[in-house]
């Protein structure tokens, strides 16, 4: 079932067009990678899909409801309840501990303190950073911070996770560990993932790859239309 849909999305920053008409479907539980060279509009597409930005032209629908016309407050509520958002770095509140950071979305939804903390600890445990529950981000390594941020993005058990270069600030091994865990948990919960990255090996975690170029879909990485040499595998 199609969860999220973009139809002919156009978005410009001043005179600079970032997206020039992008159409894309994300099915329930599907992991879609959006790749392309720097400045191709990857992040802008993610922001439009997540309801953070409104497209200038075109529409974005969530389970059949057009969300780009919603008010900022309504889209905020949607992001808080149905979506999870993960950035490259710097998204944790520096003054709060890991457990507090992770419980923040639950508290916003009205969950009690104790319950939220229990859930936060569970999620920190899943990412192997339960021992950092009472540590502040400034005292953690980049990888540990990103694990906490991922736990925060997933703690509300969102239907869609938006990840913008989630491993961009991490070394290869750490990035892979974070992503492996993220993908595994997303699959367990049937959470769709929109993964923006410029690295082929990160995009390979997805079921499908959308390549953007100059604000347009260049090609999609689906299937093979030529035979493999010698049939060797």
């Amino acid at each position: 079932m199609t969860q999220l849909q973009a139809r002919g999305v156009v978005r410009a920053y001043g005179p600079t067009p970032a997206l020039r008409g992008v159409t894309l479907d994300v099915a329930e539980g599907e992991i879609v990678a959006v790749t392309g060279p720097s400045g191709c509009g990857k992040s802008t597409l993610l922001h439009c899909l997540a309801g953070i930005l409104r497209p200038d032209v075109g529409e974005v629908t969530w389970r059949g409801h057009r969300i780009d016309t919603w008010s900022e407050a309504a889209r905020s509520r949607l992001r808080r309840t149905e979506f999870g958002v993960l950035f490259q770095f710097g998204q944790l509140v520096a003054e709060l501990t890991a457990a507090e950071n992770v419980s923040l979305p639950l508290l916003l939804a009205g969950t009690g303190r104790r319950e939220a903390r229990t859930a936060a600890l569970t999620w920190l445990e899943r990412f192997g950073v339960a021992d950092l529950a009472d540590v502040r981000p400034g005292e953690m390594s980049g990888g540990q911070q990103q694990r906490c941020a991922t736990a925060r993005a997933l703690v509300t058990e969102p239907r869609v996770l938006f990840a913008d270069e989630p491993t961009g600030a991490l070394d290869t091994l750490t990035g892979e560990q974070v992503l492996t865990q993220l993908v595994r948990l997303a699959r367990e919960q049937h959470t769709s993932v929109v993964l923006v990255t410029h690295e082929p090996r990160i995009a390979a975690y997805a079921d499908r790859e959308i390549v953007l170029r100059d604000g347009l879909v260049d090609h999609t990485g689906l299937g093979l239309d030529v035979p493999l040499a010698g049939g060797a595998r």
Binding site: S43, H47, A50, I52, L53, A73, R75, S76, R77, L78, R79, R80, T81, F83, G84, V85, F87, Q88, G90, Q91, L92, V93, A94, E95, L96, T97, E100, L104, P105, L107, L108, G112, R113, V135, R136, G138, E139, R152, A153, D164
Partner: protein, 507 residues
Amino acid sequence: MRAGTLVRLALAGTRTDTARVVLTALSALLATLAGLAALTVLAIEKPPGDAWAESEQYRNALLREPGLRGGTAFALLMLTIPVLALAGQCARLGAPARDRRLAALRLAGATPGQVTRLAVLETGVAALLGTLAGLGVYLGGRELLHRPDAQGQLALPTDVLPSTGAVAAVVLGLPVVAALATGVLLRTVTTSPLGVSRRAGRERGPRPWAGVLIAGGLLTVAAIRPVLSRLNDDNDVLLRLVPLLLLVGGLTAMIGVVIGTGWISYTCGRLMRRYARRPPALLAAGRLMADPWAGSRTFAALLAAVIFGAGAAVLRAYFAAQDALDREQNQLAGAAGGSDPFYLSTMDLVDVAVAVAVLIASGGLIVAVVEGIVARRRAYAALVATGVPRATLSRSVAWQALTPAVPAILLALTVGTLLGRGLFGRVASSGSSVGVCEASAALCDDPATSAQYTRVVETPPVERVPDVPLEHLAWLGAGATAAVLVTVGVGLLFLHSSTALDELRAA
């Protein structure tokens, strides 16, 4: 580095940098005005005659009486304290961005000295522009306000000028001090091209040592009266110690309150962290605990003004009580009138000074609140992206400012009141015996008959404790709290631009 390059790089900032330069210049201007005004009052020459000879050319007793001029100059100098605090806040405006810019210059190969020179140049030049403008305003104002009235009396001492050396010291000295302060503040940035490094966690919050300072200050001031009463009038040396004791005691208590605000912030943060149920309070609690001294820095000028104002309120209550007591005594003695109304009317001036100080301190508060929001814009933008409503963030900013502010203002009010009551805790009338003649003027004037109609009225010595001016103190506290509220409101206007999504794109 060539001078041209230096100037080009010093001016390479953003709008925030421009704002900082303008505000630095403005606070330098205000400080210059206050300083020059104080110097002018001190420059009034005492006319020949005995120690009480008045300078008759002025309308106001504060300027006329030699005994009061020192106090007037001192009060004017005290006004520079909130102004300097404002300057300190302004220097922090956009500081993270500037620190990053300077760190980038270090990475590009600039030596620590070159970078420090850049920042010092910026502050120094801005302050110099401010002091020069201040000098201009002062000289211009002098010409404009030099209007003798019908009796040839002046409202302000526009007929005297401080010595050139003193003026030069203010106009050139302030920029030098500002530049040196900048150099000191930039130590950490200039030593590391990586800019602000990872911060180690604070193991323990501030300890309540501030209580010792407050108690010490209060005791010092409270000791003045007993010491005075044991002194003989001719003990000149000890008599001169009294103002010193007052100054040291008052300043110690004031520093105690300002430092105590750090402890208050931390304790409020800890309590809120434990009991807060909603995210705004939790966010505020985290910030209060992470940097408890931010509260001390932010509220220093405001709290100083509140302490001063509370002391002044007590002083006013003292004068009022003295006035009432004198009236009663005079009535007993059959005469009308109270004490000199001069003191009570002077208190109006002091109250105006306190209001001005609170206003200036609020300027510093606004700068601090805005700076706090701008410095966290990346995290704010990320939170908004994950669906945190801006209202939640606004509430967290308000919590963060108000939670420590309210107890700190209460503490400042208490300390100011206690300081005042330590000095002016009792009104006294020494008692007298007056012969009152109760007959016609003819009989009384005749020495032969007057004795027979004269009755000796004994007024016993009376001591009374003036009331605590609760209403006055409440207004002061409400005013200070309102100032904090208004600054938070203004600061929140900046929240919207600080949560713009562009902040997420800047790596």
